[in-house]
Symmetry: C3
Subunit: 342 residues, 3 copies
Amino acid sequence: MEFTVKQIATLLGGEVAGNDTLAITKLAKIEEGRPGDISFLSNLKYEPHLYTTQASAVIVDRSFQPRKPVEAALIFVENSYSAFTRLLEEYHQRMSFARVGVEQPAFAGDGAQFGEQVYRGAFSYVGRNCRIGHNVKIYPHAYIGDNVRIGDNTIIHTGARILDNCIIGQYCVIHPNAVIGSEGFGFAPQPDGTYKTIPQLGNVILEDFVNVGSNTTIDCATMGSTIIRQGVKLDNLIQIGHNVEIGKNTVIAAQTGISGSTKIGENCTIAGQVGFAGHLTIANGTKVGAQSGVGKNVYEEGTALNSSPAFGLKESMRSLAVFRRLPDLERRLTYLEKKTEK
Amino acid sequence: MEFTVKQIATLLGGEVAGNDTLAITKLAKIEEGRPGDISFLSNLKYEPHLYTTQASAVIVDRSFQPRKPVEAALIFVENSYSAFTRLLEEYHQRMSFARVGVEQPAFAGDGAQFGEQVYRGAFSYVGRNCRIGHNVKIYPHAYIGDNVRIGDNTIIHTGARILDNCIIGQYCVIHPNAVIGSEGFGFAPQPDGTYKTIPQLGNVILEDFVNVGSNTTIDCATMGSTIIRQGVKLDNLIQIGHNVEIGKNTVIAAQTGISGSTKIGENCTIAGQVGFAGHLTIANGTKVGAQSGVGKNVYEEGTALNSSPAFGLKESMRSLAVFRRLPDLERRLTYLEKKTEK
Amino acid sequence: MEFTVKQIATLLGGEVAGNDTLAITKLAKIEEGRPGDISFLSNLKYEPHLYTTQASAVIVDRSFQPRKPVEAALIFVENSYSAFTRLLEEYHQRMSFARVGVEQPAFAGDGAQFGEQVYRGAFSYVGRNCRIGHNVKIYPHAYIGDNVRIGDNTIIHTGARILDNCIIGQYCVIHPNAVIGSEGFGFAPQPDGTYKTIPQLGNVILEDFVNVGSNTTIDCATMGSTIIRQGVKLDNLIQIGHNVEIGKNTVIAAQTGISGSTKIGENCTIAGQVGFAGHLTIANGTKVGAQSGVGKNVYEEGTALNSSPAFGLKESMRSLAVFRRLPDLERRLTYLEKKTEK
């Protein structure tokens, strides 16, 4: 994507000093700027870089006065930091939705319907009777099974797998190689020691504004739906078992696993590599520290947990502190025993 | 897939009261039933739903007598619960094996042989000299390398990767994006601090009735075979190192990792996020709790382990209980020290 | 790949006794050898297998004299063990780079440039303006976004995803379904409890000789680059957050996760299922035990850490030893309390 310095200044409502016809293709930190890049100067600690940067343009505060000659074009705005942030978002948005049309070969099953401004990458697969909304971007090698519905403005990245009957909301982002709706892990032990597969016939529902990280897996429900509520953000390599429900605006970091039928509340913050046992109910606003193992229900909102098995964060910090002193504790006890023997 | 109420009644050996020509496409819980769904009523606690459900048909016990008028068609059978379970299995079976034929474009290398009733999805890849059994389903974007053998009735889901020379048994299910037979992690340290790759030339053998979860990885052996025995069930995001062997009917939950050359016995139950060190031998029937770290051989059958590093389950539960009281323990010790000083 | 016994003898500078026209297609252990295999005998403990093996050829030391008739052709060399190792490496090398040319259909965007001896598998995707070096192997279903550069002799396995603007060095191996350059996990909390996506516009740089395991994910930087230095070896199912930097020749085992902006030093050894918090600096030569959780900077080179939260390896081993005796410790303390009461 390419803009001129002038176009960017107009977008940001700023004035240009210098060459406003230069082409800008990328955003960069001021100390790493190269020709074609635009950067910004907010914290004056970085001012020396302004006089040496190779960036083609730099956004600065309207109040700023350079003390030396500057090679880059300057764009003067009210607040350079928020202007740059706005530019980042605008750039990201345009990049994410830039692709439109169908690259061949792409597969669409009978009865599949597509909205306007859709992108279907080469080797993408859309099954029978799917309904794909407006401005949906289906990247190369993405797989969408039969009877799937996808809301407007959702991005399905390369290699993501959305299996039969799943429902994906609007403004979702499904990252590469994520798997949504594969069969849950259900096996009934038989008298002869073998296991019989318990059929998994449900689906997965993602509400709007959900983010699913790369290589994350979300199993379909045995019957009914595994549900990921509006605004949930899932990092990479997470496992979500069958019939799980995750409440609105809950954020979960990488490599965490949630066993079948557990219900996580709203606005929870779950760190990385955490494990949840199955069939739990976790209250709204629960916070869980990295590598914790949650084996019990959490009834009180805003509870902070830590450790494996998990208990109160503060209590666990105290126990962990003593844990480090355990050899010393044992020595003191032995000494006392000897002393009292006499 | 679509059946009439009558067809289902015949399959289950039941009698219909109501409209037996209705089309059924899905199974649902009675409280969630919608037109086109079939449900069941076994526990009479749920009877009130029978009079309000939108399901098109409900399976009930022969002894059951409705107390009010029912909109849905009723199918009377000996045992409604087991009839519904049978229907679930039948439906699941038919859905899993429904697809037959080749969707274009699909790739098959020279010398690849296919049995009858095979499905090859669009963009699926089958390498040179593969032998694919009867009724095998190879979904879109699945990759099968050269010289691979796959037994009858096995399902290879979308994006699964089966690398050169691997052998897959009958009735296996390989879930989306699983990787079977990629190179193991073997690097020999060199005097200059770099690492030299140790060639990994073996393969992976899956016996019959093996389940491999989504995004699970099973590395090939350095030489010889990594072996997953009959009836083993692996959940999602599991890592199996090179030259590992897993005994018959062992079940492993999500995100567990098994390091190279470890041998797990038969009928073991391994929970989620467990780690095994390399070159271990684990006895038959071993049970390992979630997030445990197993670093030693297990000689006795039926051993239950827990914690990281893992030791006996009961002992670990006792230690973990005291762990929570550690700050109190320290206080008591300090008090005693002061007391005996006097 | 097929060689005659004579060709292999010539490669190894050895002399043949027996039929030197036999075709060899595979390497095997002497006890597992079958027709078409070549094996070796170094440790004389295995000599009995020489007289019963079905392998077509066996490499032996020049000094070795068989005591019974041998069916297999013998190749006499100076050191049978190192000759076999060399053969392994040669075979592995040739297998890895055997494929050349384009299998149809394969996609290449406008402006994509390819070196000589490149392989592009069926259904592989190479985006716009990519520069792909000589002898690069792009397996089926691999995805390479726009503006990606890949150095000579690098292998991109099936289903690997390399997103826009990433730079991959020479002699790298990217294993199946690895994801490089997907968006990092950055969300800014809003006053209403929702989260706003922080645009991730940077890339990932892999220097030369880097190994990325199956289903491993490496997020792009928010701005700038996530950097994996020369010779780094990453196992399967690892998570590398945005803006992370990993120093030269560091080795990381499966299922470990590294949070955003952490810098790992050179020549570190990180075991499996380890977690690192974000924004840390870890000294060169640090060693971290399996399942540890590193939450603090490591300043001293060669530090060995263990446990979660991690502290010194030796200290942690001592604390863990006492942990197992905690119930006993508590009993001893209680006894002492009672004793001193009197």
